[in-house]
């Protein structure tokens, strides 16, 4: 065997190196208040992950190193520059999550568990890396499970909290159910194709084979659970509400985005002959997802639960890029993911820091938030406007490119329905803005200062929300790499 092919997996290997270093450092730098150890525990993962991102991007994205497709292990691992771009986007999201996690992990009950949080989070990230670069269904399945099994431990991170335990139970049971469906779909594909390599499968899939259609339906429902598309979304609200806020933000952006990208890649690579069928299937799923989630979001009063329904609806828009499987759709999807990531993490960072300081999570608790915390409410407003898609902010441009891609792919009705739903979503996002600025409260959340890590994270989010739309270089950057899968 030629061991040099491991060198093609630079992204994964560098992340594994980060995990190993953190694992060893966690033994030495264990938090201990008396001796003052554990001081490096927050900066260390951030610095390492930042270094890994820079390393990955310079090696994988810089044009001089750019090779269209790299393969290793006989095609089991496939890699294109676009995949590095997506991984870098996921890395930025994880960095912001680390920034906002600091305040929560410094609490007395969590101090002892700090190291585990970073290790588990990075393990799920590694699973997503493998899932994204998979060229074979074994690789794909292992990546998927590596992304969802440590996630359960993260959801149940606050062990003594009943809601967290309940959320973890709901998450693991639905995740297992969905992966069983997915596995059955893959087994049917194996039975009809005789191979599990993505490249060889496309030639052996035909539109007249009903077993393969069943496999497609099982496959989409399996991934639909991970992206939380509507018939499969029932776990989302409960898990998001019960999980620690930091983990919720990670779930709502990173794992969702990775799964959506993987859905795109597998549908285009493997199920290319069945394009008519999956277009039809996704057409109805997207309409259901956006509409149902919007209707449910209006009637929520817990802000985390509200963000869960908002995230389901955003997932519908994200999957809109898959329709037709065009290169423009891919660009629109990754751009949408990036913009959604900064905006959503910004909102979650504020929810998190508010929860840490006051323990309040209801929307009505945010009444009069502007009087006590004007800066935080300003950033929250920016992020909510971006999520709703109001013009000067990035969310407008990402929605615009998404609709453009859907229109070019030939689905004007779908784009119209999504557009109508954007207006509905504007209503409920503005409800929070109204609560913060206009409503008065007898007991508003007291004025507090967020810690410096959260401030850095919020600054990144605010910059992203404002400039990712106005600077066309961001979109062009994604567009430059979307030429091939």
């Amino acid at each position: 065997m030629d061991y040099s092919q491991f060198l093609h997996m630079t992204d994964e290997l560098s992340l594994i190196a980060v995990i190993v270093i953190l694992f060893i450092a966690d033994l030495i730098l264990c938090p201990d208040r008396k001796s003052g150890k554990g001081v490096l525990n927050t900066p260390l993962p951030i610095i390492l992950l930042l270094a890994q991102t820079v390393f990955m991007v310079t090696l994988g994205v810089c044009p001089s190193y750019c090779t269209p497709t790299v393969e290793a292990f006989g095609g089991m691992y496939q890699h294109t520059p676009m995949m590095t771009v997506v991984k870098a986007v996921l890395n930025i999201g994880t960095l912001i999550v680390f920034f906002m996690a600091n305040g929560w992990l410094r609490r007395e009950e969590n101090q002892i568990k700090q190291g585990e949080f970073y290790l588990l989070t990075l393990s799920t990230l590694l699973g997503m890396y493998f899932m994204i670069s998979a060229g074979h269904f074994i690789m794909f399945f292992i990546g998927l499970e590596l992304a969802s099994v440590p996630m359960t431990a993260l959801v149940a991170f606050t062990k003594k909290n009943k809601e967290s335990a309940e959320a973890a139970a709901k998450y693991i049971l639905t995740a297992l159910f969905s992966s069983a469906l997915l596995l059955y779909g893959i087994s049917l594909l194996y039975g009809t194709c005789g191979t599990l390599y993505f490249d060889d499968m496309a030639a052996r899939i035909s539109t007249s084979n009903y077993v393969q259609l069943a496999a497609l339906a099982l496959f989409i429902s399996g991934l639909g659970f991970k992206i939380s598309l509507v018939p499969f979304h029932l776990w989302t609200a409960d898990t998001y509400q019960g999980a620690p806020t930091t983990v919720t933000s990670y779930l709502s952006v990173i794992s969702k985005g990775a799964a959506a990208f993987v859905l795109f890649v597998t549908l285009v690579k493997v199920f290319a002959p069945l394009i008519k069928d999956w277009d039809l299937l996704l057409f109805w799923i997207i309409i259901l997802t956006i509409t149902v989630a919007n209707i449910f979001a209006v009637r929520q009063n817990n802000i985390k639960r509200f963000m869960a329904f908002s995230a389901i609806s955003q997932a519908g828009y994200l999957v809109l890029g898959v329709m037709g499987g065009t290169a423009q759709g891919m660009t629109a999807m990754v751009y949408y993911l990036f913009v959604y990531l900064v905006a959503n993490l910004g909102v979650f960072a504020i929810i998190n820091v508010t929860e840490q300081h006051s323990g309040k999570v209801l929307i009505s608790d945010y009444d009069g938030f502007y009087q006590t915390n004007p800066k935080l409410s300003f950033i929250m407003t920016l992020c909510l406007f971006s999520l709703a898609g109001i013009p000067p902010f990035a969310g407008f441009f990402s929605k615009f490119f998404m609709f453009l891609a859907g229109f070019k792919a030939g689905f004007p009705v779908l784009v119209f329905i999504a557009l109508v739903n954007t207006v509905i979503s504007l209503y409920y996002y503005l409800l929070i803005v109204k609560a913060m600025y206009i409503k008065q409260s007898n007991q508003p959340i007291a004025t507090f200062r967020s810690d410096c890590y959260t401030q850095i994270g919020l600054a990144i989010c605010a910059i992203g929300v404002v400039f990712a739309g106005i600077l066309s270089q961001v979109y062009d950057f994604f567009d430059f790499f979307s030429y091939s899968l």
Partner: protein, 102 residues
């Protein structure tokens, strides 16, 4: 002669018994057992397809091996979660996991 049909009928039966169990059982452990049934249905498919349809390769066997290992890991963490629930609410029936609704 045992043909592929026997295996397929068995695995489809196992899959649907698993789905039925997942939807109707009230004990989280019973739900977990139902899910294991579904996973095993897929493993059976892989092994049978490999043995009877594509005997020249090993892909199906390897896939079922990997999936058994992964489902063991999943079961371990699922049971850990259930023990945690039991510690918190002294019960592991799904009726009592109703703190968060709608």
């Amino acid at each position: 002669m045992i043909t592929i049909h026997y295996f397929l009928i068995l695995s489809v039966l196992m899959l649907f018994i698993g789905i039925y169990g997942f939807l109707t059982r009230r004990n989280t452990l019973a739900i977990l057992i139902s899910i294991e049934l579904m996973l095993n249905a897929a493993d059976l498919n892989f092994a049978a397809f490999n043995r009877l349809l594509f005997p020249e390769g090993q892909e199906g066997y390897f896939f079922s091996l990997f999936s058994i290992a992964i489902s063991a890991a999943e079961t371990a963490i699922a049971i850990a979660v259930m023990i945690n629930i039991y510690r918190n609410i002294k019960n592991n029936f799904v009726e009592h996991l109703d703190k968060m609704k709608w």
